[in-house]
Amino acid sequence: MTETVTNLWSIPLLLIIPILTAIVVNFLYGKVKAIRVVAILSSLALFAIAVISPYGYHWFTGQPAVLLNGGYTYSVQIFAWRLSLELYFGYMQQIMIAVMSLLLIFVVAISTKVMSKNMGTYIGLIFLIYMSSAAIIMVNDFYHLWIAVEIGSLLVAGLVAASGESISQKAALKYTFFSAISGAGLAIALALILGITGYPNVSDAIVSMHINNIQGMQGILYVAFGFLVLSWIYAGGLAPIHPLKSDVYGASFPHATVMLQTQSKLMLVAIGLIILRVFGTLPFAKEVMLGISVITMMVGVVMALLQTDFRWTLAYLIISHSGLVTVGISLGTISGIIGGMFQAINDVLYMSILLLCCEAIYYYGKGTSIKSVSGMAKKAPWLAFAAVVGAFAASGIPPFNGFQSEIILIQASLASGLPEVAVVILMVSVTTFIALFKSIYCIFLKADSTPETEQAQSRQGSIPVPKVLYLSLGVLIVLVVLIGVYPQLATDFLNDAAIKVVSMPWVP
C-alpha cells in the first residue's frame, strides 16, 4: 500500500453538518419556513457529500501498527501507521450513507410540512439520529463505537418522546432505561477486549489476537462477545428486546420511524461486522448470532400477523426483517454478508414506502387500524398502488429489490449447508405477504361501510396529504424497481466490504 496518511475531508463534514443543523434549527425553534429551508439544504448537502466523496480515513490519533509477524513499523503509510481512533469511508459506507441521506431529505421535507409544534427540536433530533448512524457505519475503533451506540440510543428515545403521545413517552422511557444496561454491557465488552489486546482500534485488536497466544483468555473473550452481542441485540431491536423496539417504531410518527429503522439497520450491519471480524473464528460465535437472527425473524413475523393496526404490523415486520439482515451477516460467508448488507439497503427502501403510506393513511383522520379504516383505494388510488408495490417488495416478489437480496440469502444459506435457514427465510417472505395483505385488503380494498355522517366527520378531521410525500413515494418506487432489475447497482458497493471481513478482517 502506498497511500499516505491523509484525513478525508468528507468524513468530518458528514458528522459536523448534522450537528450544526441541529443547533441552528433549535435556535430557529418556531420559524417554520426558515427551519424548512435550512433542514432541506443541509440534507441535500449531506446527500451530495455522500455521493461525490472519495474513499479514505479520518484519524484522530495514531500509533505504530502491529504487523502480523508481531513487529511494529514506523513507515508513514496507511497500513503501516495504525489509525488508533479512526473513521473509514469505503464503498459500503458510501451506499449506506447515500441511501440514508436520501431518506433524510424525504423525512425532513415531509415533517417540516406536517409538524406544527416543537419543530426545531424535532428536526434537530432527526439530524442527530442521522449523525449517530453515519458515525457507527464508519467507525473502526471501540471508543467511537461505544459513543455512537450510546448517543444513538438516547436520540431514539428523544425522537420517540417528541411524538408527543403518552404511549410514545412510555416507550421512550422504557427504551432509555434499557440503554443503561446495554450501554454498560458494551463498555464492559470493550474494556475486556482492550484489556486482552491493549488496542482500542478494531483492526489492531484483531491483529493482536492473531499474533499473540490468547488461548488462556478465551473465557474472557467469550464474556466480551456476550456483552457485545447484548448491545447488538439492543441497538438493532433483535429478540428478546424486540418488544421495546417495536414500541418505539409503533409509537412514533411513521416518517420518524423511517429514520429510526434506518438507524437500526445500519447499527445491525456495523456492530454485526465488528463482532464477526473480532470473534468470527471463536467456536459457536456465528451459531449464537444465527440463532438470535432466526428467532427474531420468527417472533417478529408471527407478532405482525396478530396486529390489527397497520402501524404495529409494520413495526413488527421491521423487527422481523432485521433478522433477515443479521442472518446474512451471521452466516459469515462472502455471499451471506453481501446478502445481509444488501437486505439492509433494500429493507430501508421498501419499509420506507410502507411507512410513508401509513403516514398518508393517518392524514385521512381515522387512524391506521384495519378495524376503523376501509375503502382507501377509492379515495387515494396512488397510495394503494404504492402500498401494494411496497408489500410486493417486502415479500420478496420479483422484479422488486427484496427478491434479489432474499435470493442471495437463501443461496448463501444453502451453500453453508443450512437448508433450515433457507426454509425460515422463505417462510418469513410468505408470512410477510400474508400480514401485509391482510392490512392492505382491509384498509384499501374493503368497501367503506361507515355511515355517510361519520364519513363526513372524518373528512373534517383529515389533513391534506403533502405532495412531497407522493414525490418521495415515487422516487422510492423507482429505486425499488431499479435495484430489483439491476441488483449490481448496490451489490458492487458491497463486495469489497464482505471480502475484507472474510479474508482479511484486520482491514476495515
Partner: protein
C-alpha cells in the same frame, strides 16, 4: 375411563382456545396463521440442533411436536410473553444471556 371427546370436540375446543370471546374477529386469521407458523418455526429451530448431533435434532423435533400438541394453542402465550413490560423483557434478557454464555463457554 378415557376421554369421550370426539375429534370434532377436540378441534372445536382448539379453535375456541384462540379467542375467549366471539369466535370471529379481524385478528382470527392472524392467530390461526400465527399458530401454524410458530409450530413450523419451532420444528425448524429444533432441527437446527442436528448441527451438534443428528440424533439430538431428531429427538428435539419429536419432542417439539409432542409438546406442541399438549400445550396448544401457544400463540396466546406467545403474545403474552411478547409484552414490553420491563420486568418481562429483563427476565428474557437474563435467560438469553445465560444461554449465550452457556453455549459459548461450552465451545472452550
Amino acid at each position: 375411563m378415557g376421554s369421550i371427546d370426539s375429534l370434532y370436540d377436540k378441534v372445536k375446543r382448539y379453535l375456541l382456545g384462540f379467542n375467549r370471546g366471539k369466535a370471529y374477529s379481524s385478528s382470527m386469521s392472524g392467530y390461526m396463521s400465527g399458530e401454524l407458523q410458530t409450530l413450523v418455526f419451532i420444528m425448524v429451530l429444533a432441527a437446527f440442533f442436528r448441527l451438534f448431533t443428528i440424533p439430538l435434532g431428531i429427538v428435539l423435533v419429536i419432542g417439539v411436536v409432542a409438546a406442541f400438541l399438549y400445550f396448544t394453542p401457544i400463540i396466546v402465550a406467545m403474545e403474552r410473553e411478547n409484552s414490553s413490560d420491563l420486568n418481562r423483557v429483563l427476565f428474557w434478557v437474563v435467560i438469553y444471556f445465560a444461554v449465550i454464555m452457556a453455549i459459548t463457554l461450552w465451545g472452550l
